[in-house]
């Protein structure tokens, strides 16, 4: 340790400031440009894309979006994928939040035998990689008639989200004031009634946070969708993106449409990020334990 003897040349002292700025700007460009490129390319004609790949779109063409939305000879209407994704994400969240809310509340409030063991069990399920489940799931969901089914997907996604959502909900309910529910119980509410009418409405902030943590992975999930949704009509957006895969860029005449599909898949999550960036980043720090 020669902390005291560090004589620094005055010029050297200015270097850190400049390097920091340059590093940040360069990396910001590296991060943003490909995304910008995706959106810009999606509003160009194929001719423009090939002749001036880095030029600004001139004129702006939204017909790529119109074509993929309504469908063309090659692909089924993209609107169908969008609606499937929307239904599945929404349904998964409703099931997940309701089930995890009840369970988290039970673990936080109930002093029953098996409470600690159940929590340990949930922690263990966090460590299970989903790939291990995929083969038996394919046959099991088939037997239940839940393959190629929106409801089946909702159950699967809700289950995959349960362990860490329950753990976070429990942590939240531990700090939830007891007085509120106790007065509801005195008024003759059942436990369940108190939960639905008093606890849940007051906790909507926490419930919204849980929704925020879960939306992006459900919207983006590929592996289970790939295995469990093998019929055209039920497929989700990530499958549409993965499926619109050209053999080679040169032989394709639908370049703009490919970028339109990617953009449309990413757009809802970006809007969502614009709206809730604080909560999303905060939630990620917490959700990191998943």
């Amino acid at each position: 340790m020669h902390l005291k003897h560090s004589a620094i040349h005055p010029l050297l002292k200015r270097i850190p400031g400049a390097t920091v700025t340059i590093t940040l700007v360069v990396w910001a460009i590296v991060q943003v440009y490909p995304i910008l490129f995706m959106f810009l390319t999606s509003v160009k004609t194929d001719k423009q894309i090939l002749n001036a790949p880095f030029g600004l779109p001139d004129p702006l063409r939204f017909e790529n979006y119109a074509i993929v939305w309504q469908g063309d000879r090659v692909a089924q209407p993209f609107s169908a994928f969008f609606i499937n994704s929307f239904i599945i994400t929404f349904g998964s969240l409703v099931i997940l939040l309701f089930v995890a809310g009840l369970a988290g509340y039970s673990l936080a409030r109930g002093r029953f035998p098996g409470n600690a063991a159940t929590q340990q069990g949930f922690l263990l399920t966090l460590a299970v990689p989903v790939h291990v489940l995929i083969i038996p799931m394919y046959f099991f969901m088939g037997d239940l008639g839940l393959r190629n089914s929106h409801f089946g997907m909702m159950l699967v996604y809700a289950t995959l989200g349960l362990p860490f959502t329950i753990i976070l909900m429990r942590a939240y309910f531990l700090s939830f004031p007891r007085e509120l529910e106790e007065s509801a119980l005195l008024d003759g509410c059942s436990r369940f009634g108190a939960f639905i009418r008093v606890v849940a409405p007051v906790s909507r902030g926490a419930i919204a946070s849980m929704a925020i943590i879960n939306i992006s992975w459900i919207w983006s999930e590929l592996l289970f969708a790939l295995v469990l949704l093998d019929q055209q009509g039920v497929r989700t957006l990530p499958l549409a993106v993965a499926g619109y895969r050209p053999a080679s860029m040169t032989s394709e005449s639908v370049l703009g449409q490919q970028f339109a599909i990617m953009s449309l898949t990413a757009l809802p999550l970006f809007v969502f990020y614009f709206l809730f960036q604080q909560q999303i980043r905060k939630g990620m720090t917490a959700g990191a334990l998943r």
Binding site: A103, L155, L223
Partner: protein, 291 residues
């Protein structure tokens, strides 16, 4: 009597437990069992004891997939956490536009991985892909690459995409760690007249070491599970040079209908990832979240 009093709590817990038993515990057990059978999904399954594992041991494609998975996990972890740390330290100096940088660096994390992969397939394309066109236009044509379409560069190119997408994630967490360091420590350090580099080396890094290790392990576990990126970008090719455990398992099961053999792969994956995660959970206390 206690049971009746507690009945309501068990009922509240029941849906979660039933769902986890049905869609997690049961498939898990099935998977462990199936690894000891040979089965093509149609004929009755046949018990083969450890044969699947013996075959795995002799399968150079399995070893390849395992090696690629580890290489992917190690380098994407080093890349994301390394860049994340640099960015976090840079932003924590209260640079102008810190909020904007934070916003931008997390943006790619929000992209669905299938979109990231599909986008980079187009970027890496040899003739018209953005990367090569850009290199050509700035006079660096000799650096033009074949990227994901040749065996030598494919895995590295996929790792680069993972680093591109996810470095914002460790950044956010490390930044929170750095900002938790009490202000007076920094002041004391600057009064002592030590340089920026020394302050980082002797003050910041030791103090955020727990966070650094924690996010490193998390990123490593996350990377071991890689599937989407590889599947959409290369399908494990060319010539299996980017094949990872996830894609190897998928192909054995759903392309070749070797469900028993694929389950043996699943068991290996489970053993590796479960052990790492479990040890991690024991070492770190799972923290609660603030709202």
């Amino acid at each position: 009597m206690t049971f009746r009093r507690n009945l309501i709590w068990y009922l509240f817990l029941a849906p979660a437990v039933i769902m986890l038993l049905m869609f997690m515990a049961y498939p898990l057990i099935q998977s462990l069992e199936l690894a000891f059978y040979e089965w093509n999904g149609l004929r009755p399954r046949e018990y083969v004891a450890l044969e699947n594992f013996e075959d795995l041991f002799d399968d150079r494609f399995f070893w390849g997939a395992l090696r690629h998975t580890l290489i992917f996990a190690v380098f994407s972890t080093l890349g994301t956490v390394g860049i994340g740390l640099l960015l976090a330290m840079a932003i924590s100096r209260r640079v102008r536009g810190a909020a904007l940088y934070r916003f931008i660096f997390y943006l790619p994390v929000m992209l669905p991985m299938a979109v990231t992969a599909a986008l980079w397939v187009r970027m890496y394309e040899q003739n018209f892909g953005m990367l090569n066109v850009m290199l050509r236009s700035v006079g660096l044509a000799h650096l033009e690459g074949t990227w994901i379409s040749s065996r030598e560069t494919a895995l590295g190119s996929v790792i680069a995409v993972a680093v591109w997408q996810f470095s914002g994630f460790p950044m956010i967490i490390l930044l929170a760690g750095i900002e938790n360091i009490p202000e007076d420590l920094h002041e004391a350090a600057s009064l002592d007249g030590i340089s920026e580099v020394q302050r980082i080396w002797y003050l910041t890094l030791p103090l955020i070491r727990p966070v650094l290790i924690s996010i490193g392990v998390l990123q490593f576990i996350f990377s071991l599970k890689v599937f989407d990126l590889v599947w959409v970008m290369t399908l494990g090719g060319p010539a299996e040079s980017t094949s990872v455990l996830g894609t190897f398992l998928y192909k054995e099961a759903f392309r070749k209908q070797e469900y028993g053999y694929a389950s043996a792969v699943a068991v290996v994956m489970f053993a590796v990832i479960f052990t790492v995660t479990y040890v991690y959970q024991r070492l770190m206390r799972v923290e609660s979240v603030e709202f």
